[in-house]
Symmetry: C3
Subunit: 363 residues, 3 copies
């Protein structure tokens, strides 16, 4: 969709200079930009590319000499990633899913679709589902019985929202994500080896073959407003009460959230994060890629875990963690610096033993 | 579906007291329970919630004073999670998939469907597939050529069972899981850098660009009775013979099982577990979340691996393991306790060096 | 499909002996082989199984006494896995997807399908997509707007190729993989705790609740020739320019490739590998299962990472790495050998302290 520089500047609250009537329909890196792209050169080091591309207009750092760079117009930004968020929303080319209720879709007659809802080819909407106005249920997606979605949901192709899932407004679910699969909950008739090993921290007692009986899932998943769930991520339903995801929490691809978890508001869970059952996560928590949290563990507000942190016990609010098992990040960096020198330390100790033992002998 | 307390007590072999003709249609935590829910208060600490909810009946710990708690009826349980398994099976609200063979489904004319089989909207059943009586093939699922399923399978929306997969009775496959994708097997014309690095434990020799030739997958996946596979989990077909999963083994979400693996009976594989190709796992093994096992490795019966254990070599039967690389759990706990103190240990060694060196000088 | 031994030998350039007119239609391990299978006994230790099976013909190691093994014909191979690649391609039984454009498929009228393209039941092809000759778009797959695929693509059931994805020839996408989901890119209006913690390596400053604004995805994914993507793997689109995967690169199951990554040619990325955003990977790199790479990190040509390596900083070309955080593999093996002995080392230091302190006292 084409936009004038004037309109973009107004929408984003940015300063614009030059011929702001120029129309653009895309954005690109400076060297790859066409004459209808806005070039993105928000740092001086990107400016050199402008000469190689065709852009007439660019988004520049504050104070840049736009005319010296050969541009006909420019927008100036402070925090460039934040400006990028605004611009990208305006010019997002989107998926071009067919609009409206596709004749091939299967919508249960008891489902209620709000105004302007799209249901794509081969999508299914189950009984009593209620879908908020302006929502898009993409091709081949599944929206199960009694699901309730707020306004302006975007459910991409192949995503599965199982029975009784409820979400606030503006839910985004990327392709092939699953919300509301059954929890992984099994029990043996007698105390199991795992239960014993946990109590004793390592001794499972007399192990005996036992088979696992399934605890069925009675709860569902409840998500707040402005939640996003990445491709192939899975959020399991709660056993009795619902698994919960707070407002504004963003979940990357291939994230696994077990049954009964409660995640606060404004969290970021990066790719391959895994939360076992009944984990509680506070508000504004950031879990780096591949972070794992064992079951029944609590993570306080504002905690940050670096990549691949393995959390086996409670983390107080505000901590920055790293490693397996998780340590405070500065302690981790110090400890692993010494770990790399450990072979040398062992040699030093051996020499000391020799020195001290020689003294003993020589006494 | 409504049930009397009397019927539930009979089905689960539990003691019931009070007005056992009361009918319930759900279960809930005490404070959230409605008048038609059974409240779950299997430990004394949960009893306080009963006063806040509306439940007339509860599942209680043995010896609880049900009348003192204001209840009209009660069930008493010993091992509460095991009782929960039975109760949850009775009152599982399920997915409400449309029953029967949906007119939009595509069933190859050579496929054989047992009595009472459901095939959901936009599901496909391939040529010569044979599906046992009472099975449910959910909406948009794929059941490929020559697949054989036992009785009472539950294949959820978007799951893919590729050609020649065979399973026993009561298979459960959660949404978007894939059973029988092609194995990840590639070979270079000459010995590759990886092969050399494995032999030398680190030296890949003169590295040279080589391209990978695909080894096609000829085998399939064979699963026993009572297997469950979680959302977005993937089990690859074997190269020549089948990949095998034993009776009663339960697989959580986003688990990856490589080609040629042989998993025994009654195992639990938690979220994000990854087994490379040709791994052999015994019976009653529990692999905690994010456990990884490198290819051609054997894990004995009754082994337990804690969260994120990385297994690079064989584990004998009965071991309880943790860490990267895997150690016995008690050794791991001891070792990492010392790892945290390593910076202090290094300082102590430095002081000793100084002390001993001073002595040398002073001698 | 049946083949004579003569034809197989010609196709693979192998030496054949005996009655090469014998026809086979499958391959199997020696003990499981039927009379129409070729037995695979490429090493002497597998020869014993031949007597238990029914095979009349086998693929044998060079110099094997095929007549002494009771065979009527034989093929001889040098590098057995490489020969297996050729044989398996010839006798791959495949998925038996219905051939041609299935009447239930939805193909946008502006899409262009090359000669002999198959589109399976309930598959969707979006507007302006261009699909190369001989490609197979499997059942229930999604090929989005403006997608361009080369010749002979094989897109399996449930795979999703989102808008503007482009690939070379012979792309293989396993079931339920997602190529071209939106990137995981969010920004706060002011500098976030994560940004501060990264700068200071652990101190996020005065933490304050902030909400995340979405950076929309404008780029797509571009893949070279001969790329394979495993089941439930996800490759996100780039923010501005495309995420790129080079020729001949093979990606296993449940691999996560973040937005803006650039992967070279002939790489192998094993199961559960995760690359955060803007990672650059050279040519002929092998990343073992569960390897993780943090964002904006560069990995040189010919690097090999062992299982579960966590890469937090740049790796020069040719390195063989292991561990968390990544070390050179030989250094890792040495360091962790000492880590296991760390409790003993600590005791030795304590004894030395005592000895030295006694000396001091006794002086």
């Amino acid at each position: 969709m084409p936009h004038t520089i004037h309109d973009i500047a107004s929408a984003l609250g940015l300063e614009a200079v030059g011929d702001t009537s120029i129309v653009i329909d895309g954005a690109n890196e400076p060297a790859d930009a066409s004459a209808t792209d806005i070039a993105l050169a928000m740092k001086p080091e990107y400016a050199a590319g402008l000469a190689k591309g065709q852009a007439r207009v660019a988004m520049l750092w504050e104070g840049a000499d736009w005319q010296g760079l050969g541009l006909e117009a420019a927008l100036f930004v402070g925090r460039s990633r934040y400006a990028m968020a605004g611009l990208s929303q305006i010019i997002d080319p989107g998926q071009h899913y067919p609009v409206g209720i596709h004749p091939s879709a299967y919508v249960d007659p008891t489902a209620e679709l709000g105004e302007g809802v799209t249901v794509g080819p081969f999508a299914m909407v189950g009984p009593r589902a209620r879908i908020g106005a302006g929502s898009v249920l993409g091709p081949q997606c599944f929206v199960g019985a009694d699901v309730v979605l707020g306004e302006a949901a975007m459910i991409h192709s192949g995503a599965r929202l199982m029975a009784r899932v409820r979400a606030g407004d503006r839910l985004i679910v990327q392709p092939n994500a699953v919300i509301g699969g059954d929890g992984f909950a099994f029990v043996t008739p007698e105390v199991s080896g795992v239960e014993k090993a946990r109590e004793t921290l390592g001794d499972q007692g007399d192990v005996k073959s036992q088979s696992w009986t399934r605890i069925h899932t009675l709860g569902a998943v409840r998500l707040g407003h402005d939640v996003e769930v990445g491709s192939c991520s899975t959020i399991d339903s709660g056993t009795i009460r619902d698994t919960q995801i707070g407002d504004g929490t963003k979940i990357d691809n291939q994230v696994m959230i077990g049954h009964n978890c409660i995640i606060g508001n404004d969290c970021l869970l990066c790719g391959h994060v895994g939360l076992a059952g009944s984990v509680t996560v506070g508000n504004s928590v950031v879990l780096g890629g591949k972070t794992g949290v064992s079951d029944n563990t609590t993570i306080g507000d504002n905690v940050i875990c670096g990549a691949a942190t393995i959390v086996l016990s409670k983390i107080p609010a505000g901590r920055v963690m790293l490693g397996y098992p998780a340590m405070k990040m500065d302690q981790h960096l110090d400890t692993y610096k010494h770990l790399r020198r450990l072979p040398r330390l062992a040699r030093q100790v051996a020499e000391l033993q020799k020195a001290v033992s020689n003294e003993d002998t020589s006494d």
